[in-house]
C-alpha cells in the first residue's frame, strides 16, 4: 500500500504469561500487509524487555496484546518505563479483552489506543496510521 512519509515501524508483543497469540498474529499480519514494518517479539515478555526492544528498534508504535486480565497492572508499568526511558514518543497501543471503564482509565493514563477483540483488521490499520499521523514526525 502506498503511503506518504516514512514507513511506520511497529513492535508487537505479548506481555505476561497468557499464550493467546491468535489475535496478535492477525494484527501483525494485517499491519505488514498494509505496508508497515512489523516486528513480533513473541510471547511471555516482561515490560522491561518490550520497552527496551521498542527503543532499540526505534519503532513508532508498541502494540501489546493481553488476554490474561492483568492489563491494569501491565499497561501502567509500560507507561512508567517509557517515560523513564524518555521514549514517550513511542505510541503504546493495547489489544485484548478488557472492560470499557478500564479502557477509558488506561487511555487517560496515556495509552494511545485500545483495540478490543473483534476489531476488524482494516480498522486496526487505520487507527495506527491515524495515531502516527497525529503524533507527527520525530
Amino acid at each position: 500500500m502506498e503511503r506518504d512519509g516514512p514507513v511506520i515501524r511497529v513492535l508487537v508483543a505479548k506481555v505476561g504469561l497468557d499464550g493467546h497469540d491468535r489475535g496478535i498474529k492477525i494484527v501483525a499480519r494485517a499491519l505488514r500487509d498494509a505496508g508497515m514494518e512489523v516486528i513480533y517479539a513473541g510471547l511471555h515478555r516482561t515490560p522491561e524487555e518490550v520497552v527496551e526492544a521498542a527503543i532499540e528498534e526505534d519503532v513508532d508504535v508498541l502494540g501489546i496484546s493481553l488476554l490474561s486480565g492483568a492489563h491494569m497492572t501491565i499497561f501502567p508499568r509500560l507507561l512508567t518505563l517509557l517515560e523513564a526511558r524518555d521514549a514517550k514518543d513511542i505510541l503504546l497501543v493495547g489489544g485484548g479483552v478488557m472492560p470499557q471503564e478500564e479502557v477509558q482509565t488506561l487511555k487517560r493514563m496515556g495509552v494511545a489506543e485500545i483495540l478490543l477483540q473483534d476489531t476488524p483488521p482494516e480498522r486496526i490499520v487505520e487507527s495506527i496510521e491515524r495515531l502516527v499521523a497525529a503524533r507527527g514526525p520525530r
Partner: protein, 571 residues
C-alpha cells in the same frame, strides 16, 4: 467415467440397479426441475463450504456413499468406532457434565465445586491460573497481576488439600487442565489421595498433560520439546502401573482450534500428537495395549454443526486405524477414541451476550450427536471474563435440557447413515490422513513443531478466518450483522478479588517457614538425579511435594538440567 461406474454398479445386481436409477433421476432433476427453479431464483451464494472450507453440495444422495463399505460405518463400540466408543452410549450412561471451575485461592474454588456438585454436576474440572500453568510460584516476578485470576493458584501440597477438602475423590472424577507442570499436580493429587488412605486404582480422572499442543497452539511451556515429551511418557507409565482408572493425558484439539485451526486441522494435528506420544512410550519399551486404553482426547465443538459431528466420527475412525495398523494394537480399547468436548470460546461475543447461550446450546448438541464422553458448555459471559456462578448454572442446564428433554440420547449416532454426514465423515478422514502424511514427510510431529509448521498452518487459517469475518462472508450475529448500539456493561461479570495475590503469597510463605529445608533440598537433588538418569520422575516428584517443595522449585530444579524454551514466532 460415469458410465463406467454405472456399469460396475449394474454388475452388482439389485443395489447397483437402484443406484443406476437414482443417478438417472438425479440427473433428470438437475436438468429439469432444479434448473428451472434456479433460473427463476438463484441461490444466495455461488458456492457453499463448511467451516473448514470443504465444498458442500446442495443435496446428498445414496450415490455419495455408494463407494463407502458398510464396515467403515460399523456399529457402536466396535472397530472402527465411527458410530461411538461404547455399545450402549448414552442409554447406558449419559455423558459426564463437567463444568470447569477455578479462580482465586484453593478455598475459593473449593466453594465453587461444592456449589456445582449441589447443582447436579457429575464431574469436576479444574482451571489453574497462568502462573500455575507455567510452573511459576505465586511470588515469582512473572506472576505479578495473574495470581488466581484466570484459574486457581496452586503452589504447594497444602493448596491441593484445600482444593479438594470435603470432596470424596473416589466418588467423583476430576479433570485437571494443566500441561507443562501437569506431572507436579498429578504428584500432589497422588499425595492428597495417599494422605486420605485411598487406593490409587480407585481414582478416576484426567490430567490434560498434552505438551505438544502447547508448542503448537496454547503456548504454555517450561522445558524444551523433547524433555517435555519424556515427562509425559513418565506419567503415562506411572498411571498404567498405579492408577488404572486414571487418564494420564487428554490429547487436545480444543486449543488448536481456538488458536485458529480448521476442524480438519484440529483433528489431524491432534492425532499427529497422539502418534508422537505413542511412539515415545513404545520406544521406551511400553506395550501399546498396556497404556493406550487410558489415552483420552479433547475436542472443541464449534459452530458448523454437521461438520463437527462428522469430525468426531472421522477422528474415531482414523484413530482406530492408526492404533491398529500403525501400532499393532490388539485390544479394542486401545483403538477406541474417547473424548471430552467443550463448546467454542472463540465464538462467544461481547455484543449481545445472551446470544452466546443459543450458540453454546447448538455447539453442545453437536458434541452429543458426535458421541462425546464428557462435555463443558461455556458461560455466556466468558467473552468478558471467567464466568459467574449464575452463568455456569445456565450452561449446565443447557446440557441437562439436551440430556433430559430433547430425547436425543435415546438413539446412538442418530446421524449415522445420513448421506451428508457419512460423506463428510469420509472426506474429513481422507483430509486427516493427507495431513498425517505431510507431517510424516516433515520428519514427524516433533520435527514439524520445531520447524514451526503447525504454528504457521494455524496462523494462516486464523488470518483467513479473520478476513472472512471482516468482509462479512462469515456472519457473526451482533458483530458484523444485526449489530446493535453498544450497551454499557450489559451483564454482571465475575469480580477479581484483588486480595488474592497477597493471601496466596502469605500462605506460601507460611508453608515454607514450617517445612524441613534440608529434606526439601535433598529430595529436589534426588529428583534431578532421577531425571538425569532417565528414571521415571513421578516417585521422586511425589516425595518432593510431600515435603512441601513448591511447584516453582521443582520446575527450576529440572530447568537446571534441561533448560527452558523460547519460541521462534511465526505469523
Amino acid at each position: 467415467m460415469k458410465q463406467e461406474s454405472q456399469l460396475q454398479r449394474d454388475s452388482q445386481g439389485e443395489d447397483g440397479a437402484a443406484l443406476g436409477r437414482l443417478e438417472r433421476s438425479l440427473r433428470a432433476w438437475e436438468e429439469g426441475a432444479l434448473a428451472a427453479f434456479l433460473a427463476r431464483r438463484p441461490e444466495s451464494k455461488p458456492e457453499y463450504r463448511t467451516g473448514a472450507g470443504l465444498p458442500v453440495k446442495r443435496v446428498y444422495t445414496a450415490l455419495d456413499v455408494a463407494e463407502l463399505p458398510l464396515e467403515e460405518i460399523g456399529l457402536p463400540g466396535a472397530y472402527p468406532f465411527t458410530r461411538g466408543a461404547y455399545p450402549t452410549m448414552y442409554r447406558g450412561r449419559l455423558w459426564t457434565m463437567r463444568q470447569i471451575a477455578g479462580f482465586g485461592t484453593a478455598a475459593d474454588t473449593n466453594e465453587r465445586f461444592q456449589y456445582l456438585i449441589a447443582q447436579g454436576q457429575t464431574g469436576l474440572s479444574v482451571d489453574f491460573d497462568m502462573p500455575t500453568l507455567m510452573g511459576y510460584d505465586s511470588d515469582h516476578a512473572m506472576s505479578l497481576g495473574e495470581v488466581g485470576r484466570e484459574g486457581v493458584a496452586i503452589d504447594v501440597l497444602d493448596d491441593m488439600e484445600t482444593l479438594f477438602a470435603g470432596i470424596d475423590l473416589t466418588q467423583i472424577s476430576v479433570s485437571m487442565t494443566i500441561n507443562p507442570s501437569a506431572w507436579i499436580l498429578l504428584a500432589m493429587y497422588v499425595a492428597v489421595a495417599e494422605g486420605r488412605g485411598y487406593d490409587l486404582h480407585q481414582l478416576s480422572g484426567t490430567i490434560q498433560n498434552d505438551c505438544l499442543k502447547e508448542y503448537i497452539a496454547q503456548k504454555e511451556w517450561t522445558f524444551p520439546v523433547r524433555p517435555s515429551v519424556r515427562i509425559v511418557r513418565d506419567t503415562i507409565e506411572y498411571c498404567a502401573e498405579h492408577m488404572q482408572r486414571y487418564n494420564p493425558i487428554n490429547i487436545s484439539g480444543y486449543h488448536i482450534s481456538e488458536a485458529g485451526a480448521t476442524a480438519v486441522q484440529e483433528a489431524a494435528f491432534t492425532i499427529a500428537n497422539a502418534i508422537a506420544y505413542v511412539e515415545e512410550v513404545t520406544r521406551a519399551g511400553g506395550d501399546v495395549d498396556d497404556f493406550a486404553p487410558r489415552l483420552s482426547f479433547f475436542f472443541v465443538s464449534q459452530a458448523d454443526l454437521f461438520e463437527e459431528v462428522a469430525k468426531f466420527r472421522a477422528a474415531r475412525r482414523v484413530y482406530a486405524k492408526v492404533m491398529k495398523e500403525r501400532f499393532g494394537a490388539q485390544k479394542p480399547e486401545s483403538m477406541r477414541l474417547r473424548f471430552h468436548a467443550q463448546t467454542a470460546a472463540i465464538t462467544l461475543t461481547q455484543p449481545q451476550p445472551y446470544v452466546n447461550i443459543v450458540r453454546t446450546a447448538y455447539q453442545a448438541l453437536s458434541a452429543v450427536l458426535g458421541g462425546a464422553q464428557s462435555l463443558h458448555t461455556n458461560g455466556f459471559d466468558e467473552a468478558y471474563t471467567i464466568p459467574t456462578e449464575e452463568a455456569m448454572k445456565l450452561s449446565l442446564r443447557t446440557q441437562q435440557v439436551i440430556a433430559e428433554e430433547t430425547n436425543v440420547p435415546s438413539v446412538i449416532d442418530p446421524l449415522g447413515g445420513s448421506y451428508y454426514v457419512e460423506s463428510l465423515t469420509t472426506r474429513i478422514e481422507t483430509e486427516i490422513f493427507r495431513i498425517l502424511d505431510q507431517v510424516e514427510a516433515l520428519g514427524g510431529t516433533i520435527a514439524a513443531i520445531e520447524q514451526g509448521w503447525f504454528q504457521q498452518q494455524i496462523a494462516d487459517s486464523a488470518y483467513a478466518f479473520a478476513r472472512r469475518k471482516a468482509s462479512g462472508e462469515r456472519p457473526v450475529i451482533g458483530v458484523n450483522t444485526y449489530v446493535e448500539p453498544a450497551e454499557e456493561a450489559p451483564i454482571e461479570t465475575h469480580p477479581y478479588d484483588a486480595t488474592t495475590e497477597q493471601r496466596q503469597i502469605e500462605h506460601l510463605r507460611q508453608v515454607k517457614a514450617g517445612r524441613d529445608e534440608a529434606a526439601v533440598e535433598r529430595l529436589l537433588a534426588d529428583l534431578r538425579a532421577a531425571a538425569a538418569a532417565d528414571q521415571n520422575i513421578m516417585p521422586a516428584t511425589i516425595a518432593a511435594v510431600k515435603a512441601r517443595a513448591t511447584m516453582g522449585e521443582i520446575v527450576t530444579t529440572l530447568q537446571g538440567l534441561w533448560g527452558t524454551y523460547r519460541e521462534q514466532p511465526v505469523f
